[in-house]
């Protein structure tokens, strides 16, 4: 879908003034570009071997747990105590 196709669809909504049309078409541009690389590309070859699927870093360590215990939990308890103190005073 080209930028122009996007543009024409917005002008259908904004028939009020030409100036407004122009603005909207401009705003649409990055979105239209975005759509163009949205598509799954054709592979240059039809088939390949297992070796051709390996990532440089291997297929391990791709995912990790969503929490982080090393992440300065000391700081957090200090922060938490201070926050509790604030409420105590108030």
């Amino acid at each position: 879908m080209s930028a122009s196709a996007q543009g024409s669809s917005t002008t259908t909504k904004a028939v009020v003034s030409d100036a407004k049309n122009g603005d909207e078409a401009k705003e649409q541009k990055p979105a239209a570009q975005l759509e163009e690389d949205d598509e799954f590309e054709d592979f240059p070859m039809e088939d390949w071997t297992e070796e051709d699927t390996q990532l440089p870093g291997g297929n391990t360590h791709l995912w990790e747990e969503s929490w982080d215990d090393d992440d300065t939990s000391e700081d957090f308890s200090v922060q938490l105590k201070e926050e509790l103190k604030k409420v105590g005073k108030a």
């Binding site: 024409s8 070859m45 929490w67």
Partner: protein, 462 residues
């Protein structure tokens, strides 16, 4: 014409389907950039049919049966005409004199090639080993349809700019006229492949996934994603050979699209299976495709498994890093306002990719991590006599006030300034309990949250 048809004849003699298909491509090969031109110049509109017929029939060791020979003649004549249109466009573009409707002419001419192929595969005149020709036909039919629609939209856009509302409605309806037509042709080709009853070694069934993938691409482009389900349904109801017997490119593309389809239906378990498979099989140099797979696999794993991509993984994909890394950091830290800001920062792209709503749901994990930090910061119950460090248990009764304080920390920072009442905090905790992210209950009389001693936050080691 004899010479111009030599690549086709050689490929056919060698029974090399890919090379036969190459000789039917509407673009010139890199090693022979003048091929289209030479081929087109080898004849003229009056004589092309008889020349091609003669060349195929009387060439030495052509090995073509009469039926196959006349089928190829028909295909190649329509191909010759399509090439004429393509060369005309090339010339017009070079001279900057592209006329309205020229791409439509290419589309129509190419559709003729496609129709001839469909006709002769379907009546059995063309052997299944040349099925790659159908891939070429379908792929370029789609490409030319998109070009034609673009040109039509541009032409119409100029005219309707100042006209009434009525015209605009018509305009937007007809916006994808050619692509919609191409979708119908692709559906015919899909049926032609999947419905073939010949023995499997010489069956067009081997083209099924290629055609299915072309249909997916087209339906996604047309924003008629729902139609893809019909394709999946037909495949599930068929007696195709197992998917792993097909070329990897067919497998990966099919897994990607079925994964995205499951993702959009919020079937994250199914989506994860398909996308992980696509990821595993994807060619290592196809970075763009890997990136697209991850675009859906990352939110999928977040929701289904509460796991995040490592920085090592994101480092390979700068664009994804830019999109996801702030979110991931905030989720790990339990930084709620940071999460909200990161979501807003890339909102447009997330919406466009159709992952915004799924990502929004992962805020629960950030929240879980924040509550978990309160639990960790609470430390341990004092040891009783005779107990060792190994017996110690974490403090499981936590005042609501502590969680409220944590919320204030998590929500601090720019933009939010949100302060939660204790009731609201209780409500959020109740929600977390309901969602199974936290185990325990709220004691309202004591304003305490009493957490489960064995696994207060399931799956997180505490």
């Amino acid at each position: 014409m004899q010479a111009a048809l030599e690549p086709f004849r050689q490929a056919h003699r060698a029974m090399n389907g890919y090379e036969v298909a190459d000789s039917l491509k509407p673009i010139a090969p890199r090693h022979d950039p003048g091929r289209l031109y030479t081929f087109y110049r080898a004849s003229n509109a009056h004589q092309v049919e008889s020349e091609i017929r003669y060349a195929l029939k009387y060439s030495k060791s052509s090995g073509l049966t009469r039926n196959e020979s006349s089928a190829w003649t028909e295909v190649l004549v329509s191909y010759w005409k399509a090439i004429g249109e393509i060369l005309a466009i090339e010339e017009a573009t070079n001279q900057g004199r592209l006329c309205d409707g020229q791409w439509t002419a290419v589309y129509d001419a190419w559709k003729e090639v496609t129709n001839n192929l469909i006709k002769h595969y379907s009546n059995g005149n063309l052997p299944a080993w040349t099925i790659v020709c159908l891939y070429v036909a379908g792929t370029y039919l789609r490409t030319f349809a998109i070009k034609a629609d673009e040109q039509l939209a541009k032409a119409k856009g100029g005219v309707t700019f100042n006209s009434g509302f009525q015209d605009d409605v018509v305009d937007s309806m007809a916006k994808n006229e050619k692509l919609e037509d191409a979708a119908r042709q692709l559906n015919r080709m899909f049926s032609l492949c999947i419905g073939d009853r010949n023995p499997i070694m010489e069956s067009r069934k081997w083209g099924t996934y290629y055609m299915a993938n072309l249909q997916f691409k087209t339906y996604f482009k047309l924003k008629a994603i729902g139609l893809s389900k019909n394709v999946v349904r037909s495949i599930n109801a068929s007696d195709l050979p197992p998917l792993e017997n097909f070329p990897k490119s067919h497998q990966v593309t099919f897994k990607y699209y079925t994964g995205v389809l499951a993702f959009l239906q919020e079937d994250y378990a199914q989506a994860e299976t398909h996308l992980t498979e696509a990821w595993r099989l994807c060619h290592k140099d196809a970075t763009k495709n890997q990136e697209l797979i991850l675009t859906y696999l990352i939110p999928c794993r977040l929701v289904a498994r509460h796991t995040v991509p490592t920085s090592a993984l994101l480092a390979h994909f700068p664009h994804l890093q830019q999109l996801f890394s702030p979110l991931v950091t905030c989720i790990k830290r339990g930084d709620l306002s940071g999460f909200d800001n990161a979501l807003i920062a890339c909102e447009d792209e997330f919406v466009k990719r159709r992952i915004y709503l799924t990502l929004e749901r992962t805020r629960d994990i950030a929240l879980r991590n924040l509550l978990r930090k309160v639990f960790i910061a609470g430390g341990y119950e004092p040891l009783k006599e005779g107990q060792t460090d190994a017996d110690r248990i974490r403090r499981t009764r936590i005042p609501v006030a502590e969680f409220a304080a944590a919320f204030r920390i998590g929500m601090s920072g720019e933009g939010t300034g949100q302060v939660l009442e204790d009731d609201e905090v209780e409500c959020m905790i109740a929600n977390m309990i309901y969602k199974g992210l936290l185990k325990g209950y709220i004691s309202r009389e004591r304003s305490m949250v009493v957490l489960n001693k064995k696994g207060a936050f399931p799956g997180t080691g505490v």
